[in-house]
């Protein structure tokens, strides 16, 4: 009895998601699978802005559809395949753990193009992967945090221990240590991408433990509101969250997916879509920083300088010497991290006050 109830409850999320089907013969149909609601004002919101940009740019040639709040489990298989069966020509799956369901669906539907965000598996020729170098923005945030913090400790609300998140944490602490070598970072894992009350709880716990800067790798604006209430500073995530903390937000990493989505959907329209794996950063405009606010001029000048250096390629956050958390050497002085290690990052660098869940 209880079991059935929970199974039913789990399927509620899928049932309540917006579904819009009915393809028109000559239009290219671009479909999107989202992890959270489009109104999270973070990660999913930005993807949906990308979808709207596709509609605006390609007009009559395309139609789009999306499913929101699709859980990252085996549950994701059905909605992705439903899209593939119902006339979608290209399907964007926008969360890390859609990786296996996406590849499975791609094998069954060779004519449909699949684009998986933040993953690395491309098991058939109709699967591309794409991501952005958000860690570049984390480095800038780390520098700002080290300049602004009085306690020398920042708090990091993390979702799941996947390479994407670990990379962000490492880049943040490297940025901070480039200013203050003794800077340390407390990490709290919430095991969810989107649960505003839980994210708020995590923020409160971190503040009570003495951090005076909060940064997050979860999707809601809850932590920003808690920081505002407690009178400390915080960074926005994925989207500009200044409205939720006008006197709190230092800056935010803004994900801009629009150029990529337009390019890829247009490729399907034009019939020249090919498999690829892209990882753009500030240089392509896919990672941008929100205005530097609530900080003295010298800090914002430094942040601007670092952003410029990362954009023109003269600064790469993961440049040696870098020591791992366990004390072993990872990169020698001047050595740059190879992409493979970055994409599969499963270790902390020195200075992170946490044990990485494995």
């Amino acid at each position: 009895m209880k079991k059935t109830l929970f199974a039913l409850a789990a399927s509620c999320a899928v049932l309540t998601s917006n579904m819009a089907f009915g393809a028109d013969g000559d239009k290219t149909k671009a479909c999107f699978v989202y992890i959270g609601p489009t109104g999270d004002f973070g990660w999913t919101y930005q993807h949906d802005q990308g979808r709207l940009a596709v509609e605006a740019a390609l007009g009559d040639k395309v139609e789009t559809a999306f499913l929101e709040s699709v859980p990252e489990s085996a549950e994701a298989q059905r909605p992705i395949e439903a899209f593939a069966r119902n006339g979608c020509n290209i399907i964007f799956t926008t969360s890390f753990n859609y990786m296996d369901p996406t590849n499975k669906a791609a094998k069954k539907h060779p004519k449909v193009k699949f684009e998986h965000a933040t993953g690395y598996k491309r098991e058939s020729p109709n699967v591309s992967t794409y991501s952005s170098k958000f860690y570049q923005g984390r480095y800038v945030q780390g520098q700002i945090a080290a300049k602004m913090s009085k306690t020398g400790v920042a708090g990091y609300i993390a979702s799941f221990p996947i390479p994407e998140v670990v990379r962000g944490i490492n880049s943040f602490i490297l940025g901070a240590q480039s200013i203050n070598p003794d800077f340390s970072l407390k990490v709290v894992w919430v095991s969810t991408w989107f649960d505003p009350p839980k994210e708020a709880d995590a923020a409160k716990a971190l503040i009570d433990q003495g951090v005076d800067i909060i940064t997050q790798h979860t999707d809601s604006t809850a932590a920003m509101q808690v920081a505002a209430e407690r009178g400390i500073k915080a960074f926005g995530q994925a989207s500009d969250m200044i409205k939720f903390g006008p006197e709190t937000q230092l800056t935010a990493i803004i994900d801009d997916w629009a150029p990529y989505y337009i390019e890829r959907v247009k490729a399907v329209v034009d019939g020249n879509w090919e498999q690829q794996d892209v990882w753009h950063g500030m240089d392509h405009g896919s990672v941008a920083m929100a205005p530097f606010t609530n900080m003295p001029d010298d800090v914002s000048a430094l942040a601007t300088k670092t952003t410029t250096a990362i954009t023109d390629g003269s600064l790469e956050p993961f440049t040696g010497p870098i020591t791992k958390q366990d004390g072993t050497e990872w990169l020698k002085a001047g050595e740059k991290a190879d992409i493979g290690t970055l994409l599969g990052m499963n270790f902390y660098v020195k200075g992170v006050d946490d044990k990485l869940p494995q």
């Binding site: 894992w189 505003p196 009350p197 409160k204 433990q209 809601s220 509101q225 409205k243 946490d354 869940p357």
Partner: protein
């Protein structure tokens, strides 16, 4: 010391919505009705509270609207299950699904707006007392209501005649009916009360906990409240303990993580749920205890003429 007070206040905030919703559901189940729609009523309350607070600028009006909307929404369940004698489990689930969808639609225009926080109360002198001032005299109004509610319900159920009638309906609706007790009427009122509580719990989420509206922001708290009722073996005092235990584990595990204790984070985040399961198993083992407290007609439809 201030840190501890601050932690305890966080625990209160985490426990309050669970406590209110679970207390409401406890009354419903004591009357012999299983309403699985708590999550749906809660999320409807959250959206009602947020939107009314935004439109009027007054969070208290928002909370009143949430109570009203939660109660109104529960009447749909009551009508279907009591008057039309639909299956309670299926109807409750439908109510949850409907609530999640409907609230998303109603709240669409309010997404992305920073909300109005229901401020903590401030009583001159008392709130400024050292140590306990903020904890006892400086929290939000809904927190005080939640505590009063639990004691009020305990008193009502076990010390009043009306409470006795409600429990008798839950234990054996046919006997109660034979004694001339209006079974359907009492169940309607119980469900109405449960809906109002769930609505208020939702208001706490969108006005106090995180003053914003996002679709599905209850994130399963309605289900936890349902589990708490079983956890508490249908006793109000134990609902209070259960809700605060759950809140304490929820908040505590973040502190353990932040301090840097080497326990895997995945284990810590699942701890509140594990604790719930362990207690449920322990309760289920003690058959006598379960038999005494479980409302015997729980979930069974009542048709007077049969």
């Amino acid at each position: 010391m201030d840190v501890w007070i601050s932690i305890i206040i966080s625990i209160c905030a985490a426990s309050t919505p669970l406590l209110i919703a679970a207390t409401g559901e406890l009354v419903v189940e004591r009357s012999g009705v299983l309403n699985l729609g708590v999550e749906g009523m809660m999320v409807m309350g959250a959206v009602a509270a947020f939107s009314v607070a935004q439109l009027t600028g007054n969070p208290y009006l928002g909370a009143i609207a949430a109570i009203f909307v939660g109660a109104l929404f529960s009447m749909l369940f009551a009508f279907l299950t009591l008057t039309l004698v639909a299956n309670q489990v299926a109807t409750g689930l439908a109510l949850t699904i409907l609530g999640l969808g409907l609230s998303g639609m109603i709240g669409e225009g309010f997404v992305g707006q920073p909300g109005i926080r229901m401020e903590n109360i401030h009583i001159p002198v008392l709130t400024d007392l050292p140590v306990v001032g903020k904890l006892i005299f400086g929290q939000d109004l809904i927190f005080y209501i939640s505590i009063a509610l639990v004691f009020g319900v305990g008193w009502f159920l076990f010390k009043t005649h009306a409470g006795l009638m409600l429990r008798s309906v839950g234990d054996s609706h046919s006997s109660a009916h034979a004694l001339g007790i209006k079974v359907i009427q009492i169940r309607y009122l119980a469900i109405l009360f449960g809906g109002a509580c769930a609505g208020l719990a939702g208001a706490h989420l969108s006005l106090v906990y995180v003053p914003q509206w996002v679709e599905g922001m209850t994130a399963g708290r309605g289900w936890i409240a349902l589990a708490l009722v079983v956890f508490a073996s249908w006793r109000p005092g134990r609902v209070l303990i259960g809700a605060y235990l759950f809140g304490a584990v929820t908040i505590g595990q973040f502190h353990v993580q932040a301090i840097g204790v080497a326990i895997p984070a995945q284990f810590l985040t699942s701890l509140p749920y594990l604790a719930t399961i362990v207690v449920l198993v322990l309760i289920a083992r003690n058959r006598r205890l379960t038999m005494i407290n479980t409302p015997a007609s729980l979930g069974q439809p009542f048709v007077p003429d049969r």
